[in-house]
Structures are given as C-alpha cells and as structure tokens.
Subunit: 110 residues, 4 copies
Amino acid sequence: MTQEQLQECIDECLRCVQACNYCYKSCLEEESVDMMKDCIRLDRECADICAFTAQALTQHSTYSTELCRLCADACERCGNECSKHHHSAHCQKCAEACFRCAEVCRKMIA
Amino acid sequence: MTQEQLQECIDECLRCVQACNYCYKSCLEEESVDMMKDCIRLDRECADICAFTAQALTQHSTYSTELCRLCADACERCGNECSKHHHSAHCQKCAEACFRCAEVCRKMIA
Amino acid sequence: MTQEQLQECIDECLRCVQACNYCYKSCLEEESVDMMKDCIRLDRECADICAFTAQALTQHSTYSTELCRLCADACERCGNECSKHHHSAHCQKCAEACFRCAEVCRKMIA
Amino acid sequence: MTQEQLQECIDECLRCVQACNYCYKSCLEEESVDMMKDCIRLDRECADICAFTAQALTQHSTYSTELCRLCADACERCGNECSKHHHSAHCQKCAEACFRCAEVCRKMIA
C-alpha cells in the first residue's frame, strides 16, 4: 500500500461521510419519511463506519484492514438501498459516493 | 468534583446513549415515521453527544466541562421532544433518561 | 441472542472503554512513558473500538456481528500488551476488562 | 453562513484530524516519548473533537455553533503545544493545521 492509496482511501471515506449525512438529513426532510426509513438507518450507519475508518487510517491503526472490509460492506449496502430511490438526487449522489468508497476500500485490502 | 460524581455522570451519559439509540431505532420502526422525524434526529444527536462526553470523561479530558454543558443542552432538547409523544413508551423512557443525564451534567459544571 | 446477552455485551464494552481510557491517561502520567508506548496506542484503539461497538449494539446495528469480532480482536491484543506490565495496577485492571469483554464478544458471535 | 463557508469549515476540520493523528502516531514513535506526552494527549483530543465537529456539520446539526466554539478552543490549545516543538516537522505541520482550523471555526460562529 502506497501513501497515495492510503490518502485516496481516507479522502473517499470522508466524501462518503458527507454524502451519507447529507442524504440522511435530506431524507428526514422529505414529505414522506416512511418510504425512506431504511435509507435513513443505513445512511447513518455508513457515515459512522466511514468516519471511524477514516480516523483509524489517519492513525495507521492496527485494524485498518478489518475496518476497510467493514467499510466496504457498509458502503455497498447503503449504496444499494440509495440507488433504488431514482427520484431523489441526494440518494443518487450518495449511492455514487458509497460505491466509489467501497471500491477504494476493496483495493486497500486486496 | 469527587470520583463518585464523575462516575455517576459517566453512567448517566451511557444510560442516555442507550435510551436515545433504542428510541431512535424504535421510531424508525413505527408505522408513521413522519410524526417522529424530530425525535429521530434529536435522538441520534443526543446519543452521539452523550457517547462523546462519556469517552471524554473517562479520559479526564481537558474539555470535560464544555462537553458536560453541551451534553446537558442536547439532553434537555431531546427530552423535551420525546416527552411530547405520550403514546410512546420508548419516548417516555428516553425523556426520563435525558432529563436525568442533563441534571447530573449540570451538577458537574456547577 | 437474548436481550440479556446483548445487554451484557454492551455493559462489558463500556466497562472496557473506561478501563482502557483510564489506563491510557495513567500511562501518559508515568515517569517513563517510553516503556508504555504500545500500551498507550493499543489502549486508545481498543477504547474507540469498544465505544463504537457499544453504540452499534444499542442501535441493533446491521454490523453488530462484524463489530463484535473486531472488538474481541482489539480487546485481546490490548489485554495481551497490558498484562505484560506486572508492576502497573491500571494495566492489570485494563487487561482483566479487555479479556472479559473479548470473551463476551466472542459469545455474541458464536 | 454560506454553503462555501460550511464546506470550508468541514474541510479544515478534516485536515486537522489528519494532521493531529499523524502527529500523535509520530510522537509515539519518537525516541523520547517523555517530552511529547502533552502533545500526544492534546493531539488525540483535538482530532476527536475535530472529527466530531465535522460529522455534526455535515448533518447540519443543531449544535454546530457550540461545537465550532469547542473545536476552535481545542485547536488553539493543541496548536500552542505543538508549536513549542521546533525540532519536529510533524508538530509544526500540526500546529499550522490547528491554527487554520481554529480560525475558520471562529469565522463560523462570528
């Protein structure tokens, strides 16, 4: 793993935190929150795991590999849920950020 | 501040984390999530602030006082919202935990 | 998994957070910090992972199993390091809390 | 507060997390950790507060103002400690990141 790969992974995790938290906040402001409940829950779980992973990576944590694996799983699950909501721009943007982050995390542990 | 007061404050913060997160999860499973959106948002904010404060207190952080003040504010606001939902047992339990935690945090900074 | 098991696991994680953070703070106050550097690093990593796992468990997170596994690993590694420091009461107490938490986390994923 | 200001503040908080955690890790690898104990402690406190503030800002949290104030305090204190270590490149870089983050946080609450 090069320094560039590490930095790329930190950056994608942090971008994903932002996209997930923005999607979370926006889902809670939708007229019909009922349809968005899985999205709300997965957004916050994914944001928390991405933020935790980014913090660990910046400390060169002993558990970087395990956290990248967990992060990739959380991002994929959140991205799959978000990508179902075709009408919602924040969900589509969130799905993109999730899939990109998952991909970079998978590269880290390859 | 005695060791007993410190421990009491840590314990109440952690109890409040549990009550808020349980309330959050339960609100998202309600039939009508729409009515609970403020509760959902404030539950998670309060849980995060309580958890962060508890971690800081266990490290005897430089910022314990400021965090206890913020924690008391977050608990009161969350408790006020939760206590509006008379029909909901998890909201009532959450409000109780929030008000107790706020009180103990206020004592810490008095 | 019963409700009692879940609560036991949350409680042990939170006890471990406290023991690790107390050990961390105490190590930094030792006369010779040099000998304690692995302990310092592993204490904080373990505390963060235990706190994160406890938060996830209280939300009935999708990733409870993965986090309990990671938490057990972090606790064992931290406990192994701490148990080397025979002279230090806080390290011995921390090692105990770590091994107990690891055991309860392993039961959760069994 | 404009969207640009919010994003600038999130970005500076996250840059400061990285600088503090890198400084923390590097201090623990120094030959003489004894001299760096305040730096180690303040680095991690500052990193945690910056990370927490950034997460809150991305959620448009109710407590953004209070957290920016706390974050500015933590950054200044950490920056002041780090800037004493003239010989250490990671401390100097950390101090710079801290002071920049403090400044942007102060602008947010002005």
